[in-house]
């Protein structure tokens, strides 16, 4: 009881004083998750579109693979990446283990299937008449695809935000490949996990509050986007 109230007071004073360590951890979190999200979107969106709009053999398999990978356990991704990046692993020579780059890689792998899969379902749910109308108006195949993706924009955005929510809150994978090195690879979730372990509650609580606020903000934004997408009356 004592430690909770004391921890809370100290946590708020940490936040209020813009503690340098705290800010560093927050910035690294945003940087790692932001870059991972960008890469995952750049790869996942075209992938979702391709699987949704082109016919090819094993399409069904590709779709279920995408859906399955959405639920990849983060620790398994972490372990897998660790084995590849560790000194004796196939990519060990690159020296990526315990760097922010390795964490970005892990989060990209976690976000990519979410973005690909949700983009895919947004795109296949676009009314086929949109494709036909685009063609009759003189669109080239690329322009048709872009117009369909534009029509699916709210669903695609939801997928990207859901991806962000997943990577920001994730701890298992980044802990394994990042190592939680102070001032270098510490992000909010890993710091919370390890500081709690050490009994250092104030930093853990301060970060917990901020992470909670960020998650709430992300979820509210997601909700807004979904509402905006759903507001269109159907004729």
């Amino acid at each position: 009881m004592h430690s909770i109230s004391e921890g809370l007071i100290k946590a708020f004073s940490l936040i209020g004083s813009f503690d340098a360590d705290l800010l560093k951890i927050i910035f690294l979190t945003l940087e790692v998750s932001g870059v991972a999200l960008l890469i995952a979107t750049a790869l996942g969106l075209p992938l979702g579109a391709l699987v949704g709009l082109r016919k090819f053999p094993l399409q069904r398999v590709a779709i279920s693979l995408m859906n399955t990978f959405m639920g990849l356990p983060p620790v398994v991704v972490g372990l897998f990446l660790y084995l590849i990046l560790s000194r004796s692993g196939p990519l060990g020579f690159m020296g990526l283990l315990y760097t922010p780059l390795a964490m970005i890689l892990a989060q990209t792998i976690l976000a990519l299937p979410i973005i690909a899969s949700l983009s895919h379902s947004a795109i296949v749910n676009v009314d086929p008449i949109i494709r036909q109308a685009s063609i009759t108006l003189g669109a080239t195949p690329v322009q048709v695809t872009l117009n369909i993706m534009k029509e699916a924009r709210y669903g695609i955005m939801s997928g990207i935000i859901a991806g962000l929510g997943r990577v920001m809150a994730e701890v298992g994978a980044v802990l394994i490949v990042g190592g939680n090195i102070a001032g270098y690879t510490r992000v909010m979730t890993t710091t919370i996990a390890l500081e709690t372990d050490k009994g250092n509650f104030e930093l853990a609580i301060a970060l917990g509050i901020i992470l909670l606020v960020l998650s709430l903000a992300i979820n509210m934004f997601l909700h807004l986007v979904q509402r905006k997408g759903a507001l269109q009356p159907i004729r």
């Binding site: 008449i129 036909q132 109308a133 009759t136 108006l137 003189g138 117009n147 269109q232 004729r235």
Partner: protein, 218 residues
Amino acid sequence: MKLNVSDINKSYNGKAVLQDCSVSFEKGAVYALMGPNGSGKSTFLRICALLETPDKGSVEYLSGDSIVRNDIGLRRRITLVLPGVGVFNTTVHKNVVYGLKIRGLSKEEIRRRADSALEFAGLLHKKDHNALTLSTGEGQRLGIARAMVIEPEILFLDEPTVSTDQENTAIIEGIILDMKKKGMSTVIITTHDPAQAERLTDRVLIMRDGKIIEQKSP
């Protein structure tokens, strides 16, 4: 451009929908395609507008005596307004300029054509509304405005007035009659209303069970 359709056949899942349809559409004339539900009118239009290919037979666009190659260039000279239109989830204005933007026309040209089409279709006051909020009649007018701005040489309209009231029907017929007067475009519409065919068209084609059984004056 002239359009020659010869001996086209089309089946879906083994069921013949069009059988040996042959017609010539002359430049600048207005045609009505009539016939009972399910007789194949929409399928015929989709094939003429190059949205689908026939199983057999040919769809040839002719400029003078030479066949125009079936490519994006040709597709950009014709257009079809689908039944149900298929408006895009964006403003009325952005719907109208879509065909112009993808053609890379200049800003001034886009503005000039869009303003005049919106005015013509009576949608100027709704240009910033989301197109999905339009009524059925307004949606049909948007479909026609979106097609008109392209200044197509051949315009196919699939049941443009099927669920519109008198006022909207009059506006849409006004647009078609204006195009007829200018003589720039060939217009081919499907309709179930013989009086409308008489008001608008030079020639009526009757379809039944996938065949064109009659071609006559309205």
